[in-house]
């Protein structure tokens, strides 16, 4: 029952939208329908957590006066209690372009809820936003130098205060320092310097421990071992390289009816492509009878979604001989294109203006299970 609740949640969130991202790039692009308003959305998750997500919206219909954005976890108790929404701004005279920023305070599966107000009333759209730390940002050199100088001034000032407090501060007005007073002041300054050095070294150690702990939270995707067994059967074993303890491999949920969507692309020509759906046979293990496919070196991209709504794209490689396999079935799909040369593919693209040459990245393939490949 619980599983179906997760599935329903994810399907509801994904149903009005089509979105796509790029392996290795955290940015997320989505097109969605908030009631009568069609919106093109760019979500740029923060590189560090906590961090600020940048959001851009272009409404494809005029008449939108105001958009508010609210960050909420996709599932769980906190999904019931939205914080106060932020209002998006119009940075230019373009009345259909909005920008906004949201603080994302924890790693995990979030959603950004857009509430759109316009001449056709109020409407809502939610877009999933997976957020995780993917880098450690270093301090700017200028700021680091400034803070170091200020820190040294502060330490010298503290030593001076201790010296004055232990000698001159105890002199009655009008009296001058004796040799004993001066010596006491110097001894106090030496002790204070030692104590401050210990404090600085301890602080550096604390900083290093904290930084190492943060580095352990930087996202490490699941790994996948792919083996071609006899009879053209592909075996995929997932492995957790260690990341957050909350990540499990037994909580994958169906997305568009399948627990895994596998994209198989012949490399480096990118001229043969399959979209397949391996079946789970155990925790973290999937199996698939391959369709007929030409020999070559293939890259595998497997999309899975955890029960929390957190998606992962797992990458692997496989070299196969010519396979005489089973016919494509269900939502499986295949495609062929001209081989990529010099890193960029030129392909003939039909448009209303006639035959034009365009980058292959602008072509869309509608797949049977609702995905769109670009």
């Amino acid at each position: 029952m619980k599983r179906w609740k997760w599935l329903l949640c994810v399907l509801v969130l994904f149903s009005p939208t089509s979105g796509y991202a790029h392996v290795g790039s955290p940015d997320f692009y989505a097109e969605g329908q908030a009631g009568p308003y069609k919106m093109s959305i760019v979500l740029r998750p923060p590189l560090v957590i906590p961090g600020v997500a940048e959001i851009e919206v272009r409404t494809e219909s005029p008449g939108v006066s105001n958009i508010t954005i609210t960050p909420m976890p996709l599932t769980g108790e906190a999904a019931k209690h939205p914080p106060v929404p932020d209002t998006m701004e119009k940075p230019s005279k373009d009345g259909q372009f909005f920008v906004g920023h949201l603080w994302i305070m924890g790693a995990g599966s979030w959603q950004v809820r857009f509430v759109v107000n316009g001449n056709k009333g109020e409407a809502t759209l939610s877009i999933p936003l997976p957020a995780t730390a993917i880098a450690t940002q270093s301090m700017h050199k200028g700021l680091g130098t400034l803070l170091a100088v200020l820190g040294i001034v502060l330490l010298l000032g503290m030593v001076g205060i201790v010296g004055a407090a232990s000698s001159k501060a105890m002199l009655k007005p009008g009296h001058t320092s004796s040799t004993t007073d001066t010596r006491r002041g110097r001894v106090s300054m030496a002790i204070a310097s030692l104590a401050l050095m210990v404090a600085v070294v301890s602080g550096d150690h604390w900083w290093a421990v904290d930084a190492a702990e943060y580095a352990g939270n930087i996202y490490k995707p699941l790994q996948m071992a792919s083996v071609l067994e006899s009879g053209g059967v592909l075996d995929l074993k997932l492995r957790d390289p260690g990341w957050l303890r909350q990540r499990n491999m037994d909580d994958l949920i169906p997305d568009h009816d399948h627990e895994m969507h596998l994209y198989v692309i012949r490399w480096p020509d990118m001229d043969v492509l399959f979209h397949l759906h391996p079946q789970p046979i155990g925790t973290g293990e999937f199996r698939l009878a391959l369709p007929s496919m030409p020999s070559g070196h293939y890259r595998l991209y497997a999309d899975v979604i955890h029960a929390s709504g957190f998606p992962e794209t797992i990458v692997s490689e496989l070299t196969v001989p010519k396979v005489r396999g089973v016919p494509l079935s269900g939502d499986d799909a295949e495609g062929e294109a001209a081989p990529v040369t010099s890193g960029v593919a030129d392909c003939q693209h039909e448009s209303g203006a006639g035959v034009t040459k365009q980058n292959s990245g602008e072509k869309r393939f509608e797949l049977p299970d609702g995905y769109t490949m670009i």
Partner: protein, 176 residues
């Protein structure tokens, strides 16, 4: 340390008691006043549906050990700093433990969920499974943890009182 330093520097008979009373009264004032004003969380995740300012937790019962310290001070003023510290540190620690432990047991019961003790109000970022929300006592599995902790705390208390008395002595000598 603060209590010892202020007692030594001021020479006032009820210095520690006065400071502890000020601390207790100011925290209780926050508990009573803050929830009167509306507030909303601006950041997620929001686990607790908060509609007003969240009061702080009820203050530690520092008044009791402070009164004992002040009473003892009148009898041990002439003793050495180290002896004073060795006497006052454990007195402060164990008298606080004796009064705070049963009081904390009361704070963990639903009976303390009222306007004065306010144990039912939590910051919006505290998840519902947190021990403070579930009123759970987190028991350490290691049997010697409590004894070890008390030992370390006793040493810290003695050192802290000694530093406080030293600072208090210095403050009394300041001329300019």
């Amino acid at each position: 340390m603060c209590l010892a330093a202020t007692s030594k520097a001021s020479g006032y008979r009820w210095a520690a008691t006065s400071i502890a009373a000020l601390y207790t009264a100011s925290i209780i004032a926050f508990i009573v006043i803050l929830p009167l004003f509306p507030a909303e969380p601006k950041l997620g995740p929001v686990y607790q549906p908060v509609t007003h300012f969240v009061p702080p937790q009820f203050p530690l019962l520092l008044l009791v050990p402070s009164v004992l310290l002040d009473l003892l001070w009148a009898r041990t003023d002439g003793l050495s700093k180290m002896f004073n510290a060795a006497l006052r540190g454990p007195l402060f620690l164990f008298s606080l433990l004796a009064i705070e432990w049963p009081f904390a047991s009361f704070l963990m019961t639903p009976a303390s969920n009222n306007r004065l003790f306010a144990t039912g109000s939590h910051p919006f970022s505290v998840p519902p499974w947190a021990p403070v929300v579930l009123r759970q006592f987190v028991r350490n599995e290691q049997p010697l943890t409590l004894i070890k902790g008390l030992g370390i705390s006793t040493v810290c208390a003695v050192v802290s009182v000694w530093i406080g008395l030293t600072v208090g002595d210095w403050m009394r000598k300041i001329q300019q």
